[in-house]
Structures are given as structure tokens and as C-alpha cells.
């Protein structure tokens, strides 16, 4: 009880909790779930964009895309490391992903069908991710907060690159390119709005997470802020947003927007999205195909250690 009170007091004072500090089991579990889900999202998120590396239409864009997907791998690394400070190994977390027990962001269950998807993912998906993640840079758990600072910085860079690539296509490209961009926006707009999660009324976990500073703003508030930001950016790009109900509401000082298809959201979350099967199978197969490599690396390490020991004994 004394420990718990001290913990609550530090949270209340806005101080960071560190790996060595005492923390309630539920706090730890909530963090492991959230951080690992985020880490999984980064590595599954490499797949839809990675699908276009081989076909990038210019060498500059190929380099930008490669670097971006590489950064996502890097985010995965920091985040698995942050989760490991909570006493769970990366292998255990991956096992949970591969067995289907752990989730990753549902947005990555949508397919990338054209090159414009790459730009739109940068603009909308990374944009929504940043909106969700910036508050986490002040999260109560120190290692997570510090990882998120680095992640957010890089994500902002990706978001600007995505936007810039769309702007180039819209302003300097052909009619076919502009149509490709619009089509991609039409496909990604609604799934991006779903990235903020269910409406506040239907959201579980939230109250406790708010109190712990693991979550700092409500789903609906973040979603509204995202919509307001995107409307202006879409105007600059010259693309339409596929929502006939989208309009400025002077009274609220915000944009009204149409109803989200939550049936679709839950279908995808529950495994019936366009690419759920493929994404998980791809990760599992990469892992299984790599088994011989990981075993060999361990075997080699053991051999070296044995040889070192033998030569020290001989000396």
C-alpha cells in the first residue's frame, strides 16, 4: 500500500516512472500491451509500404521510401527495447504476435494498391499516428516517453515527405497521376479516421490509462483535431476528401464530418480486413524462414566462447 501510494503520488506530480521503480502489476501489463502493440504495428507497418520499394518510380523516391521503411524498423527496435525494460523479452512479444494473441494497428490490414498510397500513408496514416503519439511523449513511463520523442520526430519527417510527394504529383504531374492520388485519398481517408479508435463512449481502458498518463487525450478529441488539420492540407494539395457531410461548423469552431462505418472497423479488428491473413502470414513466414539463421548465430557464438575458454585455459 505504501508503495502504491508513493507511485500514485509520483504520477500525480507528473514525474516519470523508471524501469527499476516499483509499479502496480496492472500498470505494467497495460504498458506492455500498449508498447508491444505499437512495436508490432511498426514492423507489420513495414509491409504495405515495403510492397512498393521494388517499383518506386524514381531513384530518389526509392531512396526516400527505403529510408522510411528502415526507420519503421528502427522504431520497432526502440519500442521492443522499451517493452523489455518491463521484464518481457522481444521473442516472447513476437511469439504473441505470431500466435495471433497480440494486436497491431488495424490500418496495416489495408492494401497499398498504387504508388500514391505510399504518399497518402505518409500524409494521413503517419499524420494520424503522430496526433495519437505526441501526447505519449509526456507519458508517465520514462522509457516509453523517451522512445516516443524519437519516434515522433522521425514520423513528422515522414509525414512531410509523404505530403511533398503528393504535392509534386498534384502540381507537376499528369492527369493520370492526379487521379491516382485522389483514388488513394478516397481509400485511406476513412480508415485513417478509424485509427483514433472507437468513439469515446465505446472505448474501454481509457479512464484508467488517462489517470496514469499512458493516454492523455480522448479518441474523439484527437480525431477532431486530425480532421481539422487535414481539411486545410487537402485544400493545399487540391484533393477532395470523400465525405459529403464534411463542413466547417462555425459554432463549434471545428469541422463536422460524416458517420464512421464502425462495422468495417470491427470487421478489420476481428480479422476480416482485406489483408489480415497476408500480413500475419508474411511475418510468421519471415520468422520461420529465419530460424536456421538464428540457430546458426547462436551455435557460432557458443563455438567462439568455447574456443576462447580453451585458449585461456591453455595460457
Amino acid at each position: 500500500q505504501a508503495l502504491e501510494a508513493a507511485f500514485e503520488a509520483r504520477i500525480a506530480a507528473g514525474e516519470f516512472i523508471e524501469a527499476k521503480d516499483w509499479m502496480p502489476e496492472h500498470y505494467r501489463r497495460t504498458l506492455v500491451r500498449q508498447i508491444s502493440q505499437h512495436a508490432h504495428s511498426e514492423i507489420v507497418g513495414m509491409l504495405p509500404e515495403g510492397h512498393w520499394i521494388s517499383r518506386a518510380p524514381s531513384l530518389k523516391r526509392k531512396a526516400i521510401l527505403l529510408a522510411k521503411v528502415q526507420d519503421e524498423g528502427g522504431h520497432g527496435l526502440y519500442l521492443y527495447a522499451a517493452a523489455e525494460t518491463l521484464g518481457v523479452s522481444r521473442d516472447e512479444l513476437l511469439e504473441a504476435l505470431h500466435a495471433g494473441r497480440a494486436k497491431y494497428s488495424s490500418i496495416f490490414n489495408y492494401p497499398t494498391l498504387t504508388w500514391a498510397d505510399v504518399g497518402v500513408i505518409g500524409w494521413l496514416v503517419d499524420g494520424a499516428a503522430i496526433m495519437n503519439q505526441v501526447p505519449l511523449c509526456r507519458c508517465s513511463y520514462g522509457p516509453y516517453a523517451r522512445a516516443m520523442i524519437r519516434v515522433c520526430k522521425e514520423e513528422s519527417f515522414h509525414q512531410r515527405q509523404g505530403f511533398e510527394s503528393l504535392l509534386t504529383m498534384m502540381q507537376q504531374g499528369t492527369a493520370a497521376q492526379r487521379a491516382m492520388v485522389q483514388d488513394a485519398v478516397d481509400r485511406w481517408w476513412w480508415p485513417s479516421l478509424m485509427m483514433f479508435g472507437p468513439p469515446d463512449a465505446a472505448s474501454t481502458h481509457s479512464a484508467q490509462s488517462m489517470r496514469w498518463g499512458i493516454k492523455r487525450e480522448s479518441n474523439d478529441a484527437l480525431r477532431q483535431r486530425f480532421v481539422d488539420a487535414c481539411v486545410e492540407q487537402a485544400r493545399v494539395l487540391g484533393v477532395g476528401l470523400p465525405d459529403p457531410d464534411l463542413r466547417w461548423n462555425e459554432a463549434r469552431g471545428a469541422h463536422d464530418f460524416g458517420a464512421i462505418d464502425w462495422d468495417e472497423f470491427w470487421a478489420v479488428v476481428n480479422g476480416h480486413g482485406p489483408c489480415n491473413r497476408e500480413r500475419l502470414a508474411t511475418r510468421v513466414s519471415a520468422w520461420e524462414r529465419g530460424a536456421w539463421v538464428r540457430e546458426a548465430a547462436l551455435a557460432h557464438e557458443r563455438k567462439r566462447a568455447a574456443r576462447r575458454a580453451a585458449s585461456q585455459e591453455a595460457a
Binding site: 531513384l59 527505403l66 504531374g173 499528369t174 513466414s285 536456421w292
Partner: protein, 256 residues
């Protein structure tokens, strides 16, 4: 002139095609650290390719930039040695083999180091500058790949078997790197860069100790010869280019 351009394309295309292959691992590697490391190699190779193709375009003087050279040439105009275009999947196998990728990376980076070391003294300052920068990158590539070659060669019985098979598959393609020809002789005479054939001793000196440490047996020489440097590729090349160029070719006049 008629020899500088192919000389530059042989190297630039090798870097481009190798980058294209390496990038296939992005998201599919055996450990996350290697997703990142192989993407790093791909990025370095792509950067070298861009610099070299841009230089080749300027040298040609017909207004072709890196993208025109990468996306608008036909297969026979690509002059990379065939070694770099081979798929990661061994003949008849189903899945890409990480060991084969790292072994090729090692064989190539060892060669590239030897080549860039000489090109850093090129009479052409632009080429010398590219080479000086690339040399540092290739030193890291060679080390990273060599570590894996040793680890997998001297790992388990299965990994040893796979690496030996990879070496037997890939080794015959290395002969091409050292084939002498008129292009190389003219360029060497002009002081632009070495004939690749001259690099064999340096290359062998860096390759042999690593293969030995990896417990791999060097295959005997055979009459097999690949001819990518003369634009005669393997059947893998057409499919690689079909995919790489598909988008660029489907949108003529586009700006990306």
C-alpha cells in the same frame, strides 16, 4: 567516349541491381536488426548507383539523367555483372536464402572495395570523389557480410551446408568480374580506372581468409562464364527489370 560510358555503367548498374535485390529483404529478414542492416546496404548501393549513373549520363552527353538510365533502358543495355542480378532464392528452392544474400554481399563488397580504392585515384575528379565516399561504405558492407559468412559457415551443420551450396552457386559468376576486354583496357590506358582483371589478386586476398574461417571450400574453376557486363544477362534479369520499371513505364511523362 565509347569506353568510359560502359565502364561507368558496369559499376553503376551493379550497384543499382544489387540495391534492388537487397531491398527485397526489407520487412522479411530473419531478425529485425538485419531488416535494418540490409536496408542500409541497399541505401548505400542505391546512393552509389545514383552518383555513378548521373556521371554516366553527363559523360554520355545526351541529356539522360539517373532515372532515364534506370527506367528507360532495355535489358541488353544494362551492363552489371550477372552476379548481382541473381535472385536470393537458390535454383529450385522456394524461399529466399539469407545466407546466399550475405555471401553475395561479401563477394561483391570485397570486389567493390578493391575497385573503389583504385578509382579514388582516378584522373576524373568526379569519379574519384564518388569512389572515396563509396569506399568507406563498402568497407562496412564487407565487414558486416563477412561476419555473417563466418557465423553461418561455422554455425550449425545445416547452415554450413546452405553456405557451401550458396558458394558453389555463386562462385562461377565471380569469374566474369575479372574478364579482360577492350573497354577495360582503354579505360585503364586513359588513367580513368583499373581494368577489373587487375583486381583479382586483391580480391582473392580479402576473400580467401574469410571463406577459410567460415570453413567453406572454395570451388574449382569451371568453364562457366556469365556475360552481364556485355549486356547478356540471366533469365532473372528481365523479371527484375519488368517489376522495377513497371510504374515508370506505365506513366509516360509523369513527374514523381
Amino acid at each position: 567516349d565509347a569506353t568510359t560510358l560502359p565502364y561507368l555503367l558496369r559499376l553503376g548498374d551493379a550497384c543499382l541491381v544489387h540495391a534492388q535485390r537487397l531491398a527485397e529483404w526489407c520487412g522479411h529478414a530473419p531478425v529485425l536488426e538485419e531488416d535494418i542492416a540490409l536496408t542500409n546496404l541497399a541505401l548505400d548501393q542505391l546512393g552509389q548507383a545514383r552518383a555513378l549513373l548521373s556521371l554516366a549520363g553527363r559523360c554520355e552527353g545526351r541529356g539522360r539523367d539517373e532515372d532515364a538510365l534506370a527506367y528507360q533502358r532495355g535489358e541488353a543495355e544494362f551492363l552489371n555483372p550477372s552476379l548481382l542480378e541473381l535472385p536470393h532464392t537458390p535454383p529450385g528452392d522456394s524461399a529466399p536464402c539469407f545466407g546466399r544474400t550475405l555471401l553475395r554481399g561479401f563477394l561483391w563488397a570485397s570486389f567493390a572495395q578493391a575497385l573503389y580504392r583504385r578509382l579514388a585515384d582516378s584522373r576524373d575528379p568526379a569519379l574519384a570523389g564518388i569512389a572515396a565516399r563509396a569506399l568507406k561504405e563498402c568497407r562496412y558492407h564487407a565487414e558486416h557480410c563477412a561476419d555473417w559468412v563466418v557465423r553461418l559457415g561455422d554455425g550449425t551443420a545445416e547452415s554450413q551446408r546452405r553456405m557451401q551450396a550458396a558458394l558453389e552457386d555463386l562462385w562461377p559468376y565471380t569469374a566474369e568480374l575479372f574478364e579482360d576486354d577492350a573497354v577495360d583496357r582503354a579505360v585503364a590506358a586513359a588513367g580513368l580506372g583499373p581494368a577489373w582483371a587487375e583486381l583479382r589478386p586483391a580480391w582473392l586476398a580479402s576473400v580467401e581468409p574469410v571463406l577459410r574461417e567460415a570453413t567453406l571450400r572454395m570451388p574449382p574453376d569451371t568453364p562457366f562464364r556469365s556475360h552481364g557486363r556485355r549486356g547478356r544477362h540471366t533469365e532473372a534479369m528481365g523479371l527484375l527489370l519488368a517489376e522495377m520499371q513497371s510504374l515508370a513505364r506505365a506513366f509516360p511523362g509523369a513527374v514523381w
